[in-house]
């Protein structure tokens, strides 16, 4: 991965320039430790964006607000979409700040340069990076705040700070003097902390690595948690939007007068993506939108079908001469002299995100400012592109982030944010745009349809001597982060594409094949595509060699201790090779993703009607280190279930330019009665955390496919996995 530093001012320029240049945005990676973020306290004084701070509070740095009543509020700069950042981020700060975590209040941070994710170069929640990015930096921020608070106490008592001790938001001096953080915060906020404070030995962690209850749980059990769809701003009206059923279609005509005559309707406006009705309530807006009877010109994609696209993508993967990203030895030569040659193509369809909370956002566009309120994974993109659209400066656009009713990559996009901005501007009122489930399913950015063609040459003993990988599909990166696509190679199509197996001759090629169907980052991104192909194919190689799948992998991973460790533990914990309940077989898959090493064993049966049932999933995850092992476990459980959908049920198809699935009746998602027994074995004896929000998702399909092969002898190379 190319690493590139972009400083704050050039990043802002890029935001505007990139957007102006065709809707694309570049956000560069920034090396951890190289950003403007280095010194939060100093930077905060100069650059902290306005926060809803009470007048009697002070901010020792941009993350922490201490009230005169000694209340401690920690700001969370990573969107809470279920993955636990609202708890894990404050935990890292509190650990070094020396406060009682159970008494801390947590608030979402505003959009601001200070709050960027240094691994992603933007205020973006994604890529399973939140904890990895924050692990050192937020502990440093907590320590810096504690140090200035202690210094303020020492100054007050005219003693050396080393004689003072901080605990539970109180500083104690050598003569037993006591001062609360609340009493010290104002003075502390004027002091400059050390750039590199000494951090605690992990052995003395009070909260990090422990099962701390989630901060957001109580509000999510009594209906009081505020999601975007629940949020309000003064004077707000609600909008429903009709968008073209066919991708790229345009409004032909609509009956504005009829819609306007409906109860509660205040405005009927046309925007770039369709027709919006703005009414007192959503239900009124929705009814009036039906009355508006919008007619469409389907445009250039009126005949588009996913079946034809799948065939094109398959051809592109089979074509020679695509850009090469990997070459070791001479695969073609080795293939010719191989005793046995295997070849297989794997098909991955479009898949929708289907967050439980349909897309929505509030925009309040004024003459010289704009307030955005809602569920987003990408505050900076929402802010930047809104500013661009309104010809404002980013600082004129405020972003307030609510809880997200699911993200999974969908809310990295800001299409629905910009629609709300356009509607608010056109109607001249603050507007909350709400999508219906049908809008959400038919106007998603789908997991890219892809074909991966694999070839292997085995010697007489069944050992692989050559391996060739060829992948074709649309590139999300080309649209979102074009600077990452170099020489036709999109690194985000190639996650987990290089296999860990010791094979002396290998080539890897990739062909970007864009289509008019919008595609986006979907939980685990290309890990899910590549692991399905690679981990199915290594099983095919094992079968061709007449070897046990675990044994076969083990022999090829001799130089990969981290893989071996998870593989062996998964085999042991799953009872690999031992008798199973009648009709069941196991399948295994391994992968490294986001710095986490995984081995998963699926235990499956197949009914006489050909229905595949997943009974048990054993997950071994070497996550390096954890902030909150409970949340890590939640993420693994979540990923197994989410991955099941893509592996066994989910598929979006397109006919006549339109998505055919519209709601949960024709887009099947996993339900209570279908969920397997999930057994999790965590390894966390390293010193850095790996990402865990996504990778487990990727191994559900190959492990289940491998188990289905073990039962039926049929190799399923197409998702969703279906026998009938």
């Amino acid at each position: 991965m190319t690493t590139q530093r972009v400083n704050s001012s050039s990043r802002r320029t890029f935001l505007q320039g990139g957007a102006a240049a065709g809707g694309a945005l570049f956000v560069g990676f920034v090396l951890p430790g190289c950003s403007a973020f280095d010194d939060p306290a100093v930077a905060a004084a100069a650059k902290a964006p306005p926060t809803p701070a009470a007048p009697t509070s002070a901010m020792p740095n941009a993350w922490i607000r201490v009230g005169s009543d000694n209340s401690v509020t920690i700001l969370c700069a990573r969107s809470e979409m279920g993955q636990g950042t609202f708890t894990s981020m404050p935990t890292l700060i509190a650990e070094e700040l020396e406060v009682d975590l159970s008494k801390v209040k947590v608030e979402m941070a505003p959009a601001g340069e200070l709050y960027i994710n240094a691994m992603l170069g933007g205020q973006l929640t994604g890529g399973s990076t939140s904890v990895k990015d924050a692990y050192d930096r937020l502990r440093v921020a907590g320590a810096q705040a504690r140090i200035v608070l202690v210094q303020a106490a020492a100054d007050r008592w005219k003693v050396d700070p080393s004689q003072c001790r901080a605990q539970d938001a109180v500083v104690t001096g050598p003569a037993g003097q006591k001062a609360t953080y609340g009493e010290l915060a104002a003075a502390a906020s004027k002091l400059t902390p050390p750039k590199e404070p000494k951090l605690k030995d992990p052995k003395s962690f009070r909260y990090v690595g422990k099962w701390v209850p989630r901060f957001d749980t109580p509000a999510k059990c009594d209906g009081s948690a505020e999601f975007g769809i629940d949020a309000k701003v003064p004077g707000m009206l609600t909008a429903a939007l009709a968008q073209s059923p066919a991708f790229g279609g345009k409004v032909a005509r609509f009956d504005a007068a009829k819609a306007k005559a409906m109860p509660g309707v205040r405005h009927v406006v046309q925007i770039s993506s369709g027709v919006a009705v703005v009414a007192d309530t959503y239900w009124q807006a929705k009814q009036a939108l039906i009355a508006a009877d919008v007619q469409w010109d389907d445009g250039p994609n009126a005949k588009l079908s996913s079946e034809a696209i799948a065939a094109e993508v398959r051809q592109a993967a089979n074509r020679a001469g695509s850009p090469t990203f990997k070459k070791v030895g001479d695969a073609d030569k080795a293939m010719k002299s191989a005793a046995k040659r295997l070849e297989a193509g794997y098909d991955i369809p479009y898949t929708a995100h289907v967050t439980m909370e349909p897309m929505n956002f509030i925009a309040d566009v004024r003459a010289d400012s704009c307030l955005l309120v809602g569920p987003t994974q990408f505050q900076q993109l929402a802010q930047g592109l809104t500013a661009n659209l309104l010809k404002m400066k980013p600082e004129q656009v405020q972003v307030r982030t609510t809880f997200l009713g699911g993200g999974f990559g969908r809310r990295v996009e800001v299409d629905f944010v910009l629609q709300a901005v356009e509607i608010s501007k056109a109607a001249g009122v603050p507007v909350k745009l709400i999508w219906s489930r049908e809008d959400d399913m038919t106007h998603d950015v789908y997991r890219p349809i892809s074909h991966i063609r694999l070839t292997a040459g085995l010697d007489k003993a069944g050992k692989p001597v050559a391996f060739k990988y060829s992948h074709a599909g649309p590139s999300v990166t080309k649209r979102m982060f074009p600077a990452f696509v170099k020489d036709g190679v999109d690194p985000f199509m190639l996650e987990a594409a290089p296999i860990p197996y010791d094979i002396p001759n290998q080539t890897g090629t990739v062909a970007i094949h864009d289509t008019p169907v919008p595609t986006g980052f979907w939980r685990s991104v290309s890990h899910g595509l590549n692991a399905f192909a690679n981990e199915s194919f290594i099983d095919e190689m094992a079968a061709a060699a007449r070897k046990d799948p675990v044994e076969y992998r083990r022999a090829l991973l001799a130089k990969e201790p981290k893989y071996l460790r998870v593989l062996n533990l998964a085999a042991e914990k799953s009872g690999w090779g031992k008798p199973l309940p009648a009709g069941r077989k196991q399948g295994i898959a391994v992968m490294e993703g986001y710095g986490t090493y995984l081995a998963q064993v699926a235990e499956v049966s197949v009914s006489s009607g050909g229905e595949i049932k997943l009974h048990r999933m054993v997950v071994v995850a070497d996550v390096g280190a954890t902030v909150n092992p409970n949340i890590v476990q939640q993420q693994i459980e979540s990923s197994v279930v989410y991955g099941m959908g893509a592996a066994m049920y989910d598929q979006i198809t397109v006919k006549q330019g339109r998505v055919q699935q519209t709601n949960f009746h024709d887009y099947r998602v996993p339900r209570m009665n279908e969920v397997p027994q999930i057994e999790i074995h965590l390894i966390a004896d390293g010193d850095k955390p790996g990402g865990i929000g996504e990778p487990v998702t990727a191994l559900v399909a190959p492990s289940v496919a491998n188990a289905v092969f073990a039962i039926t002898g049929k190799r399923l190379r197409k998702l969703p996995l279906r026998l009938a």
Binding site: E80, M81, G82, Q83, G84, P213, R214, D216, T217, P218, A219, K220, C221, D222, G223, S224, A225, E226, F227, I229, D230, T238, P263, T281, Y282, W283, V354, T355, M356, E357, P358, F403, L404, G405, G406, G407, F408, I434, S436, R437, E438, N630, Q634, E637, S638, S639, V640, V641, Y642, N663, F664, H665, V669, P670, R671, M672, N673, E674, V675, I678
Partner: protein
């Protein structure tokens, strides 16, 4: 004008009689704990109790609830079963994104009111109409067993 009883209080709303109960609760009565998920009674996010029985408020016209008792997530903690379920939910840290959890809790309370000691099969039957995209199902099952004082499979 439609009048209805929500969480023990008589309320009225100036809406068309066909307006779904969900939107009356959320928009006219400002009770946003009940969630919009699909609009077609397919996902359970909008589950409320009507005379103690779970119904999908997104597909229940407000006219159909006149004279009947509506209970929502905002008041479910007032019943003993509701309190037990919420306590188990918190103890096990069930929610992730949390969006579906109002509906899950309403469905779970209705199940436990009906069957004090549900089996796993009872839980499957009662809860498989409630979708959770975060996949909190194993914890929902565990929390229901905990609230019921039963040991899960």
């Amino acid at each position: 004008m439609v009048t209805l009883t929500v969480n023990g209080t008589a309320r009225s709303a100036d809406v068309d009689a066909a307006t779904p109960l969900l939107w009356v609760l959320r928009e006219n009565l400002q009770m946003t704990g009940t969630k919009f998920g699909c609009g077609m009674a397919l996902c359970g996010a909008c589950t409320v109790h009507l005379d103690g029985k779970p119904v999908r408020s997104c597909s229940t016209p407000v006219s159909a609830v006149a004279g009947r008792k509506v209970t929502t997530i905002e008041a479910i903690g007032q019943s003993a079963t509701g309190r037990k379920v919420q306590a188990a939910w918190k103890d096990i840290d069930v929610p992730q994104c949390g969006y579906c959890q109002s509906g899950q809790i309403m469905a779970a309370v209705a199940l436990l009111e009906e069957k004090g000691k549900p089996t796993d099969a009872d839980i499957d039957a009662a809860m498989s109409g409630n979708i959770c995209r975060c996949g909190t199902y194993p914890r929902i099952r565990a929390a229901i067993h905990q609230a019921a004082g039963t040991k899960g499979a």
